[in-house]
Symmetry: C2
Subunit: 469 residues, 2 copies
């Protein structure tokens, strides 16, 4: 009772304190989730303090005057979290200022030739026309993606130079001042950004693509167990399952495109070359997303109210779980190879296994499932099985795209590792071509090292581990 | 032969000309797709020319000095395509400048108290701390969504005021100048943006949500025909079908969120109130996207190589087509009511019909489909049927969310229209509750006007047309 009274009395204060604590915890979590954010904040402070030196030291101040403000302004707007973004903005700003300053000086000269009355009219006309054109050009998707900021700064500088030139005869000097301070501001930003704990957006994109594939792999590895666990308990599972990781993949499209656009600004770093195949990353990402849509459909059978009864599901349990878990393992191998930037054929075995399992699943359905009476009870289980077969195809497509990426990006070969499993089952990899009803391609996968060396000598690296029949 | 030689000779020139023509056509298409882009470009030119008056007229020039440049700069960076975006940036810029100017002046005063040696050190320290804090705060998602630009401008102004104050004793005057020119620039932008052919992002969001629902409706209306046409021709359809319109819905999530964030800045306009329920738009959008995922799964059966043979599909043709087309009609009615901003129960009848058809489909499957021999051939058709039943549920959810939106946004009631179809089938709307195996809720829909008036008097408007049993 007393504590309740106490709470009521101190209500507003307690609530305020609670809010402050909540906010602090939020900030702490933000920093913990990605400690690079804290470093970035320090870097921003450093870059701004560095550029403030322009005002502290007299010789520089006298050289640049008020235009030195532009250096500070440039750092604030150019300095971004990632190198790609900072470089992109910096280069855009410098190049746009250069061309706009030249054009602005030209426009100003042209206007002064027309006399006292004509000058303001001509300048207004120039500003109107250039502003209209530049604003319209910013709608072009290709320009918007990479040069939007440059177009903005072009317009800005052109207006400032041509309009202020009307008052100030030393227009060329002003243009030069603006350009040089912007170059200094941009370079300070870029140098601090690159040389102190750089955050490469290319690396982020690379990791995100790998993580997305891994998320699908996690889902598929756990799906079999989850689906048939439901059947035992007889009720839909808890929605907040760790399996839901794949959901973020569904809407990753625009983020990936932005990242690829920014990554193209970045110079060579680590294993990333200058012309790294960013477009292929987008392709891998897009195929991964296609697979995520299938997984969304699979997931809907986990939470659906319409379920096949346990006895129906148990018929396909073994084969389905095998398909799902082999696909999951294949995707996780692909993700791991991609993350390590190696060419690896470790996934091939799992893909071959998943195809075996899919054939097995089909024959189980044909032989056992059809004996069941109520077709309405069979269909959900059958649909899950058919979706799993689609997922096998998707997994293969992701593998193809990932292999192409590995060869385009010149990933190194992974050291061949022979797992105990492979030793036990030397002929497991050889799959007989089966003429299924679905017209799917079937694959002979050869795992024995000596044979594969002979067969694959003339194949491109990405294709080496498997041969399409 | 001659023409070929001619082409070779004029190769580079022809190619250049071709590129120019291609670029011009691209620009033309850009303007044709959305003529508001052309108007926006003119508006930008106008706003910049207007603000250039600050330099043309001497009295104003003498009043504001070089700071008038800030007015031009403000227009360039604040003037955006939509009112919400322009207002958001303008308000952010003004508010951030105001607070940062005050804080900057304070920091400058504090620094001067510490003497000649301490001053630059203290200012550098302030800049470092404020820059770090502001940069870190920008990572908070809620701040990033609405106040990112304000934070940037806050940092910018604080640095400019406190640093430049070190050289210029008239720091308060400078802060006032900067603030007043920014206010003038922002206001010019906002006024031109609102009063000349305004583009309301709220209207765009409203229309996009309606269009997305309509796209799903179009797909479903055409799906039945398309799926069974494939069966007749025996091969997958052409991929570039108009049915693919729904694909854009799959990845609309981030765009919708951005639009809703910007829409919240907009004042009351047309039928849109100040506190328009933008969050509910996002909910409708999200449920629509859920439905689009189901449709993506349905679509995969159109292009899949694994198909039920025509004789199997023809069994479910009538019932499936009915479910799909009734759902499609319901969605299109919902989209049309949403677009017109009216409360309408026109969709209810189609939803009830689609439920009837779904029950019918189930009994067709139970009675006829199970007689077929090869279960593997039945499953794809069965999966399509079961997906269609899921789509019925989705359609109902979209209808619920749309009705809630209609009541939250105080849409007006549509004038009741009695279609000839309704006259012919007066009792069609009454659906008997059927205890299906799936545990779905069933609905009694009452279409007869007199009865519905009696029954629904005490129900909230969104619920009025139907009663959950």
């Amino acid at each position: 009772m007393t504590s309740s009274n106490h709470e009521n009395a101190a209500g507003p204060l307690t609530r305020l304190w609670g809010k402050i604590v909540g906010f602090a915890l939020k900030l702490k979590k933000l920093g913990k989730d990605d400690p690079r954010r804290i470093i970035h904040s320090f870097k921003m402070g450093l870059a701004l303090t560095l550029v403030s030196i322009f005002y502290y030291f007299k010789p520089l101040y006298e050289g640049f005057g008020l235009a030195a403000m532009w250096a500070i302004l440039t750092v604030v707007v150019v300095f971004e979290f990632t190198v790609g973004s900072t470089l992109g903005r910096g280069l855009n700003r410098m190049l746009a200022t250069l061309t706009a300053a030249a054009l602005g000086v030209g426009a100003h000269r042209l206007a002064t030739l027309s006399g006292e009355t004509g000058e303001p009219i001509l300048i207004a006309l120039f500003v109107f026309i250039i502003a209209g054109i530049v604003t319209f050009l910013r709608f072009i998707p290709q320009i918007k993606a990479r040069y939007d900021y440059g177009m903005l700064i072009f317009l800005l500088t052109f207006c400032l130079i041509s309009v202020s030139g009307y008052r100030d005869e030393e227009v060329i000097e002003m243009a030069f001042e603006r350009l040089s301070t912007i170059v200094i501001g941009s370079c300070t930003s870029v140098i601090v950004c690159i040389f102190i704990c750089p955050v490469w957006i290319g690396v982020d994109l690379h990791n995100q693509i790998a993580t997305n594939i891994e998320k699908l792999g996690n889902f598929l590895e756990g799906y079999g167990e989850e689906y048939f666990k439901v059947s035992e308990e007889g009720q839909p599972r808890d929605k907040s399952s760790i399996l839901d990781g794949y959901k973020s993949v569904l809407s990753s499209s625009s983020k990936e495109e932005t990242m690829a656009n920014l990554a193209r600004w970045e110079p060579r770093h680590g294993k990333f070359r200058f012309r790294h195949p960013w477009k292929q990353y987008l392709k891998v990402g897009s195929i991964t997303r296609q697979c995520a849509f299938k997984i969304e459909a699979l997931n809907s059978y986990l939470i659906s109210e319409i379920q096949s009864p346990p006895e129906v599901r148990s018929i396909i349990q073994e084969a389905s779980t095998a398909v799902s878990s082999e696909c999951g393992k294949a995707l996780k191998e692909l993700a791991s190879a991609l993350r390590k930037m190696t060419k690896s054929s470790a996934a091939e075995r799992h893909i071959a296994n998943s195809k075996d399992a899919a054939e097995n699943l089909k024959s189980v359905i044909r032989s056992s499932l059809s004996k069941h009476d109520d077709i309405l009870q069979i269909i959900p289980a059958g649909a899950v099985a058919s979706l799993l077969c689609e997922v096998v195809k998707c997994t293969e497509e992701i593998a193809d795209a990932a292999h192409k990426l590995a060869s385009l990006a010149h990933f190194k070969n992974a050291k061949p590792k022979v797992t105990p499993e492979q030793k036990e089952l030397p002929s497991q990899g050889i799959v007989q071509p089966v003429s299924g009803i679905d017209g799917m391609h079937h694959v002979i996968t050869i795992n024995e090292p000596s044979q594969s060396l002979q067969e694959n000598r003339n194949l491109p690296p990405a294709m080496a581990p498997r041969m399409e029949v």
